[in-house]
């Protein structure tokens, strides 16, 4: 074919070299064929994260090899939320290959380009769109190559199942594999090829079961602690009795006397090593140490006073009209204070990492949502070159934001560097609690009033120490203000590490807002659905979600408390509009709340894998019942008293309600977030249903039997 040369080899165009290596090395590493690389650009949730030292050039690429298989190299990880199933659907559809011909290579830091991390519902919402662009670009290139091969015009060709063929004469065809054989083409995608319209989708929008289930039900799926390396040692690390403690002295003599136990000491890092996890555990118990503890006079009950005292720095997020005018117009004022405790991520897999040195390079398998920042953190800690640290692909046993932070990976790498031996570190459940980046405890104060017509005349919202995401209301209120109040720099805002807990800040702010809306509705003597709709006249999308959910639930109008135990809450999370209606039964003697039924309706824009979206919705409802009803970190000073599942209870089977989830059809929209939405409304929905059942309003989460009973009086 004399046209071969035209499109045989191409070099990187308008992007930075993905690995700082030349094209030949790059192709050698991942294999020949057609490679399309792409950049996500600046993503919206970057604040507070470790960023690469300069703008990322390439975020992922896909390769069509000589065997016709499509390999997609992405920095995303699979922790149950489903990109291993949904991302290939996007590629296969845009590229017109069979779904089973797409392989995912996820978060091997040697092979996959840099990625900030897997969190914030970014994978489909931001990343997927660009991935589709790359697949569309690859398809366009293949069609062009085929046109040359078949001596036909590009418009005379169509693609299906990895084949380019003539629209008129299907015998004139060539496979993607034939087209890419022996080629070394490296292209970039900058969103320059049109994506398929929704009506053209063959795979996207259809429901697919998870592709990783078989491995997971047979026990073959590998997690960080399942990596077994010859001569590997298990590590246990000496931990302080409470956070902020200073190590005064340590005696490791007894541990050293144990057969086969190795003690490692490097500054404040004191560890014991043994081939057996069990013996390592016994050895660490024999290490005695004296600590100077930092004492603060605070526990889970006094913490809210502390928060109000320390949160003095005010920032106004939004303001509309004049509060004073609204107050003058008000005939009823309702001033409420809502309290949220610390809660833990509690994935069933604790933070775990296994590492070894090989040919002067550090190889790490870590239960981690942020392989690249973690790799960079290890390199920095050990004074190694980033290129000499590799994080390898591994399943993650639940993250929920807690595995954005990975002290275990740094610790294990330090131990490997010190000993030159392969080492595994599995956090105990107690360590998992102590070093978790908890959902921050918070106080939300809302002062609001109703005018004579029963409409909200003003709304003054202040969240203390909880963060501002989705703090700003979306209702029609003429006079309002939304503020965050935070501890000034240098003050101890929280006695524990805090961080991003599934939909950070949104659970706290939504619980407060939706409880207050319900209180106002009752004060106005209006059915709470009707009350919401009266304040959503400008927002048909949200009004539609509320109406659709109410219909699906079988809501009949009544002012609260109706005694039926029906309640709901609405919210927004990463662009998705969501409502959950619940029916509860409250034991009047004990205050125990049983959620019998939950109906969720959400408008999340275009959905790649409806089945995957439904799994996330159901998961959010069930996980959300945990924080609504029972999750609360117990502590005294900076000492964690919640250390295992006996002292920190999460959702169990006996709490599982009958669940009905429903996605509003808006497939011509862009995709919004799918990993979090229903969880944000669970607290408000349950509190409102408890009020509807009993007339008792509970202002403090979780709604434990004691609190419900106390509120019932």
């Amino acid at each position: 074919m004399n046209n071969d040369k035209k499109i045989n080899k191409r070099v990187l165009g308008n992007m930075r070299n993905p690995f700082g290596m030349d094209r030949r090395d790059f192709m050698k590493r991942i294999g020949t064929g057609l490679v399309v690389a792409f950049s996500v650009g600046n993503t919206p949730l970057k604040a507070g994260m470790l960023a690469q030292d300069d703008t990322p050039g390439v975020n992922a690429f896909l390769r069509i090899g000589e065997d016709g298989r499509v390999k997609v190299y992405v920095g995303k990880i699979e922790m149950g939320q489903g990109p291993i199933t949904s991302l290939p659907m996007e590629v296969a559809d845009e590229l017109d290959v069979r779904l089973e011909d797409v392989d995912m290579i996820m978060a091997d830091t040697d092979l996959c380009p840099w990625n900030e991390g897997t969190y914030g519902s970014l994978s489909t919402r931001v990343f997927g769109e660009v991935l589709r662009g790359a697949a569309a670009k690859a398809r366009a290139i293949l069609v062009k190559m085929a046109a040359e091969e078949l001596s036909l015009g590009v418009t005379e060709l169509e693609t299906r199942d990895g084949i380019v063929r003539s629209k008129k004469d299907s015998s004139k065809k060539i496979t993607y594999a034939q087209l890419t054989k022996g080629k070394e083409i490296l292209e970039t995608s900058v969103g320059d090829v049109a994506l398929k319209k929704t009506s053209e989708f063959r795979i996207m929008g259809t429901s697919k079961l998870r592709v990783d289930s078989r491995e997971k039900v047979t026990g073959e799926a590998l997690y960080a602690g399942d990596i077994q390396i010859p001569n590997m040692l298990c590590a246990r690390i000496l931990r302080p009795p409470s956070l902020g403690s200073k190590l005064l002295n340590v005696d490791t003599t007894q541990a050293e006397l144990m057969e086969g136990v190795e003690v490692v000491r490097d500054g404040d890092l004191v560890a014991v090593l043994h081939p057996s996890q069990h013996i390592a555990g016994k050895a660490i118990a024999k290490v005695t140490a004296e600590w100077e503890e930092e004492k603060v006079d605070i526990n889970q009950d006094t913490l809210f006073d502390h928060i109000l005292e320390v949160a003095t720095e005010s920032r106004t997020l939004a303001s509309e009209g004049k509060l004073e005018q609204g107050k003058e117009a008000a005939v009823k004022n309702i001033n409420s204070t809502f309290l949220d405790p610390y809660i833990a991520h509690s994935p069933i897999e604790t933070h775990t990492a296994t590492a070894m040195m090989e040919d002067g390079r550090m190889k790490v398998w870590a239960s981690c949502q942020t392989p690249y920042p973690t790799r960079d953190g290890i390199a920095e800690e050990l004074g190694m070159d980033q290129k000499d640290v590799q994080l390898l692909p591994i399943f993650v046993g639940g993250g929920f934001g807690g595995k954005i932070y990975n002290p275990q990976a740094i610790e294990v790498a330090r131990l490997v560097k010190l000993t030159s031996k392969p080492i595994q570190l599995v956090y105990t459940r107690e360590e998992e609690f102590i070093y978790d980046r908890l959902r921050p405890a918070a106080v939300v104060k809302i002062d609001a009033g109703l005018d004579e017509a029963g409409k909200i005349s003003y709304w003054d919202f202040a969240v203390h120490q909880g963060g501002g995401r989705e703090a700003v209301h979306f209702y029609d209120i003429p006079n309002s203000r939304t503020r965050t109040l935070s501890a000034p720099r240098g003050a101890m805002g929280h006695p524990f590490y805090t961080g991003a807990w599934r939909a950070p800040s949104v659970n706290t702010n939504t619980f407060a807002r939706e409880s207050q809306m319900d209180i106002l509705a009752a004060a106005a003597g209006v059915d709470p659905v009707e009350f919401r709709l009266r304040h959503l006249e400008h927002d048909p999308r949200m009004a539609n979600v509320v109406k659709t959910g109410a219909e699906r639930f079988g809501w009949t109008p009544a002012k609260g408390p109706s005694g039926r135990g029906h309640g709901f809450a609405v919210g927004i999370d990463v662009g998705t509009y969501v409502v959950v209606f619940v029916e509860v039964e409250v034991d009047k003697n004990t205050g125990y709340v049983q959620v019998k039924r939950a109906v969720c309706c959400q408008d999340m824009g275009m959905v790649v894998n409806p089945q995957g979206a439904i799994l996330q919705m159901e998961g959010c409802i069930l996980m959300g019942l945990g924080y609504a009803l029972r999750e609360e970190i117990q502590f005294e000073s900076r000492k964690m008293l919640s250390t295992n599942f006996d002292s920190y209870a999460i959702t169990q089977f006996n709490m599982a309600p009958e669940i009905d989830v429903f996605i509003v059809d808006s497939k011509d929209e862009v995709p919004y977030g799918g990993g979090e939405p229903p969880i944000v409304v669970m607290g408000g929905a349950v509190a409102n249903a408890v009020f509807d059942a009993t007339g008792a309003r509970v202002f403090r989460q979780p709604l434990t039997p004691e609190r419900v009973k106390e509120a019932m009086g």
Binding site: G80, G219, D226, T428, I650, Q652, F653, N654, A656
Partner: protein, 159 residues
């Protein structure tokens, strides 16, 4: 150290274990079967569940020496010749998992239930599974998968 012999997934094995060494680490480290997971170390979460003489047990709190002379089944022994057990099959069909970390323990605990009660009611499944923890929130699907598997198992042994 004591030598402990037992049957693991149909094969006789012999290990040496300390008096208080939990079965979990013997299975994972000495016998190299990593499907059985460590979740809490205190018997609260159930991700370490295995079957011993037909009973679901928490391997993280079970001293390995107590397994002497018993028949032990782990998740690796449930499928045969690459063919999934009906429980595994139904977990796949129902998408009864997300991160998958609790899954082996869920399946083994459910297996223990179905051995005794092949057609459990919803309530019986809830009672039997209540102390196996799932953080991703697959509870409803797990209950469904277990009930479906019970029916499948009954069918396959029916004349």
């Amino acid at each position: 150290m004591k030598t402990v012999q037992f049957e693991l997934n149909g094969k006789s094995v012999s290990v040496s274990a300390n008096e208080d060494e939990p079965m979990l680490w013997v299975i994972r480290q000495q016998l190299g079967l990593t499907g059985t997971k460590f979740g809490c170390g205190s018997g609260f979460c159930g991700s370490c569940t295995v079957i011993m003489n037909g009973e679901a047990v928490r391997s993280c709190t079970l001293p390995a020496i107590e397994a002497a002379g018993t028949k032990v089944l782990t998740i690796e022994g449930l499928s045969s010749n690459g063919e999934l057990h009906p429980l595994q099959e139904e977990f796949v069909k129902s998408d009864a998992l997300q991160c998958g970390f609790c899954t082996p323990g869920m399946i083994m605990n459910a297996y223990g239930l179905l051995l005794k009660n092949p057609e459990p009611t919803n309530e019986e499944v809830v009672i039997a599974m209540d102390e196996n923890l799932c953080r991703c929130g697959a509870h409803g699907r797990i209950i469904q998968a277990i009930q479906n598997a019970g029916k499948q198992m009954k069918k396959s042994v029916a004349p």
